[in-house]
Every structure is written in C-alpha cells, then in structure tokens.
Amino acid sequence: MEKLSTDQLKNVCSQVRRDIVRMVHGCQSGHPGASLGCTEFFVTLYFHQMKHNKDFNLDGIGEDLFFLSNGHISPVWYSVLSRSGYFDSKELYTFRKIDSRLQGHPATEENLPGVRIASGSLGQGLSVAIGAALAKKLNNDDRTVYVLMGDGEQQEGQIWEAAMSAPHHKVDNLIASIDVNGQQIDGPTKEVMDLRDLKSKWEAFGWEVIVTENGNDIHQVIAALDKAKGLLGNGKPVLNLLHTDMGYGVDFMVGTHKWHGIAPNDEQLEKALSQLEETLGDY
C-alpha cells in the first residue's frame, strides 16, 4: 500500500472518527473513548507504517502483523481495516448487530478479514504477538509484529508473564504499544489500581522503551514508530508508551472515563459529527 502524506493521514483520521461515533451510535453500544484516542495510531500503522496485504491471509507470511489486545476498541480497528481495503466500509453498519462479522470484540469465527485472533478478555494479546513473532523468526520472515494493549490492561498478570518472556527469548521483531490514557471503566487508573512508573517497569523487564508524548499528534506517532523500528534486531523487544487523550476529537468526550463504554444519543451524535469533517464519505 502506498504511504500517505501527513495531511492525507489527518483526513483519514477525521473519517475514522466519524465512523467510530456512527458505529457506536448505530447499535447503541460499544467503546468510543479509547477508539477515538487511538485513531492516529491505527491510521499511521495501516496507512503509513506496516507492509500488509488487504487480500487477507491469516498466516501473513512476508507481511507485518498487528494484534489488538484491548479488543473492546474494535470500532477504530474495524473502521481502519475497512478504509484500508480489507472489506467494504458499508459493512461497518452491521457493527454489534445480529449476523454480523463485526462482533463486539474482534473474532475470527466469522472470518472477518484482518483479524487473526479473538481478543476482548484482557491480557492475552502480548503473549499471542510474541508467539507470532517467534513463528516469523522460525520462518526466516523478517517482517515486524505489532501489538496494542490498554493501560488498564497492565493490571492483568499475564501481561507480566509475557513481558518477562519476550526479552528472554530475544523477540526483537516485536513492537508493543500501550495506550496510556489514564482511564479505565471505574475511573482514572491512578485511583482504580495505580500503574506507577510503567517506563521503569518495562525497562526492568528488559525492553527498549520509547515514549510518544502526544499520541494524537500524527507527526509524533510516525516518528515514534519509525524510532521503534530502528531499535529492532538488537536482541530486545520494543515497547512504545503511547500517551493519548481518551475521546480525542469530540470535545465532550475528551479526557474522561465516562465515554469508555457508552454510546451517544441522537443529539450527541450530531454534535460529535459537527466537529469531524467527512473526508472519505460516510458508510
């Protein structure tokens, strides 16, 4: 896929945000907050960073792979997959509805192109990404494996089992990102279960750690992912602390856990859409 310019990427982001709020509104459920916050990251990955093939092949030999561990932010992923050609964006209308391939949390059961494993029960994606990265090494496939986790998800024990194992097995073809938005369902992560110094923790586990100070600035996201890529191949996995604002792009959703998992009503939808330019045509 041809790499887009930053202006083009910003246009895609605007449309993806429209898709997110419309999808969640359409079924009156789903998770808009972190989907909006991670839009720049997903758009950069799929339209700029990764080598990938929209003619989906589950094994992805010779391609970069992406895994979503915090599966509840499926709206942003589905939108980006469809906008980058994996399936018709009209199918976004079916999100969370009966007989849809777009399950509430990503799944492989309905063969949705772009999804390689189910996620939703938190804490599992990093382990999967490590396995897929090891398979690439065994296959002499030099492409990269990406995975995104949530910050609340860092409270799961399996994350730290995986964190310990990747440096041990020298999984240096892996870029893991954590969406650090400081929010989870019950409130700010600091109040629910303080994560403290994630950078020191991951460094202590043997990872190369980089920080994206503003994950909603497309220039910073590109620079961070380029930097991460440059650190690969040196015996260590790379962790990207991606600081984002939950709900970014819609003024009344920004920075609060209240929009983690609820849908806008008709009026709120209109208000949100008025802040987001339609750039690629609504589905």
Partner: protein, 322 residues
C-alpha cells in the same frame, strides 16, 4: 488377582503414558518440521527433553507461566507452526481456561495442549494436582477435540496423529507406570472408538488408565458367566456415537469407566447420547463429586471406587436394571 485371570489382553511391560507422549513427540518432530514445543518448567516430567535436545530452536521454555504459554502457542500457529504445550493437566486446563477459550478454541487455533499427571493416579502429590474436571472443561469448549489414551503405545500413536489434524486438541495422559497392552506402532484414528472385546450382556466404555481395569473386569465377569463387551473410548470428543449406539442396542446396558469426575466426564457424554437416541441403563465408574488425596495410584483407585472390582460391580448392576 490379575495374574491368575485369563485376560484377553496381556502385558509384559509397564510404562508411563507420559513417556509415550515424549517418544511420540520426538518422532513427530522428526517427521514434521512445523511441530514446535513449549513447556512451563516441567520438561523432565513431560518427557520433552529429547525433542528439546534435538530441536533446540523449535522448543521454548516459558517458565512457570502457563497463561503466557497458551497465548504464545496460539500466536505460533499464525505462520503455520504446530505447537505442543506441556504441563500438568491441572495447569493445562483450570489455570488457563480463559486463555484456551479465547485465544485457542474460539479462535480455532491449531494448538495441541498436552497434559500429563491427570487424575488420581498422579498419586502422592495429592488433590491440588490431581485434576478430575479437565475433560469436562475441555469437552465443553466448541472446536476442541479431547483425547485420553490408555497406555504407552496408544499415547505415542495419538501424539503423532494429532499433528495431522487441523484444530485445537486436548491430549490427556498420566504419570504412573501402567501395563502396555495395545499394539506397538498402531494407527490412531481420532474419534473412532476401538472395540477391544466382543460381548453380549453389557458394554463397558472405558478411557485412559481405566481401560486396563476394564480388561481385568471383563475376565472376572467372564469367569462368572457374564459376557461383557469392551470399547476403548480414547476420543472423548468428538464422541463415536455410532459405536456406542451399535453396542448398547446389542447388549442393552452399559458402564462408563474413567479417571475423572462423574459430573461432566465420558459417562455424561454417553448418557446424553443414550437419553436422546436409545435409552438404556448406564452405571458410572468415576469420582463421585469429591477431590482426591495423597496415596499410591492403586490405593487411590481402590478407595475412590475406580478399579476392576468396581467395574464388575457396576456391570452387574447395569444388567440387573435391564
């Protein structure tokens, strides 16, 4: 007791089924370069050392971290690998049920979950390690195949066969030395029950270590003039319903025998088949809603009602209910 009995199957050697797994794992590793291994700090117990030595680049020691092991195994299938995970049955199921459910079963991943030290015959370690619910948990999962072979030879054959089957498999075996009474280099057909002994009065459906107990029970019953049919159900799921219905429609009653809780085990799968298609008396030989305890394998099988004598008793009761 068994020495003086005229059993239809005999043995000259005893060996642990986990060694059948270890030897089969090495053999399938030589045959299929996509086979890889993962183990959670139990390489010696699972007999995975020979594979690790011969194929170090295809083997991953993951430490005492079973959840991560299951996730890594799921990830390794993406790119065509066939991962075999190794740990005790307890840590292969209950400890990682959610990882298996989401990342392996629901995702349809080609992972072979290889579980040793299942059941009471684990022995002295006691109830914390003697899982008796594992087959139930695994058979409830959509897409999961559940296999419980009976001796060294059958376990080795099953270990090799599952590499050629595309999809998640739970392979269960054990720790104690046990009679080797099935043929060497046998062909293992997933989902196909094996009629070991023909009979007409009662059918014994046995799985795992209790197949040998059922061989002994058949001989005891024969001495008393009762003709028992013995069917080895090595594949708990998918269940060979045809073999079950064929046999029970002839004998009119049956016994299930397994080293597992009665709740949710092989017997319950048979009961479901019979209740919906051919109602007939069924007696369960299994653990009756309790945990195990420390002891020697044969002592435990006796105390918890899982040996040949209990199968004989159950067979007579099933016949009396016809």
């Amino acid at each position: 007791m068994e020495k003086t009995l005229d059993t239809k199957f005999t043995y000259t050697e005893k060996k642990d089924t986990r060694s059948g797994f270890g030897d089969g794992f090495l053999e399938v590793g030589r045959k299929n370069k996509n086979v890889v291994g993962l183990c959670a700090d139990l390489i010696g117990s699972l007999k995975m050392g020979a594979f690790q030595k011969e194929f170090p680049e295809r083997f991953f020691q993951v430490g005492i971290a079973e959840a991560n092991m299951m996730g890594m195994a799921a990830g390794l299938t993406i790119g065509g690998k066939i991962p075999y995970t190794g740990t005790f049955a307890n840590f292969s199921t209950g400890r990682v049920y959610d990882q298996i459910r989401q990342s392996i079963a629901y995702s349809g991943k080609n992972v072979k979950i290889c579980a040793s030290h299942a059941g009471l015959t684990l022995g002295e370690d006691g109830a914390t390690h003697q899982i008796l619910e594992d087959m139930g948990m695994m058979k409830m999962l959509p897409h999961m195949t559940v296999i419980n072979p009976c001796d060294y030879n059958q376990t080795k054959a099953a270990t090799i066969a599952i590499a050629d089957y595309e999809g998640p498999v739970y392979l269960r075996f054990g720790r104690p030395n046990w009679p080797i009474f099935t043929p060497k280099d046998q062909k293992f057909e997933i989902g196909k029950a094996w009629k070991m002994i023909e009979g007409k009065d009662v059918t014994i459906f046995a799985t795992g270590h209790l197949v040998w107990e059922a061989v002994v029970a058949e001989a005891i019953l024969r001495e008393e003039g009762i003709s028992a049919e013995l069917i080895n159900i090595h594949t708990i799921k998918p269940l060979d319903k045809e073999a079950i219905l064929d046999s029970v429609s002839k004998t009119g009653c049956c016994v299930s025998a397994e080293e597992h809780q009665i709740n949710g085990g092989l017997g319950d799968s048979i009961a479901q088949t019979l209740a919906t298609q051919y109602p007939a008396p069924l007696e369960y030989v299994g653990v009756n809603d309790s945990f195990g305890e420390s002891g020697k394998p044969t002592e435990l099988l006796e105390k918890y009602g899982l040996n040949a004598a209990n199968i004989v008793k159950a067979a007579k009761k099933a016949i009396s209910r016809k």
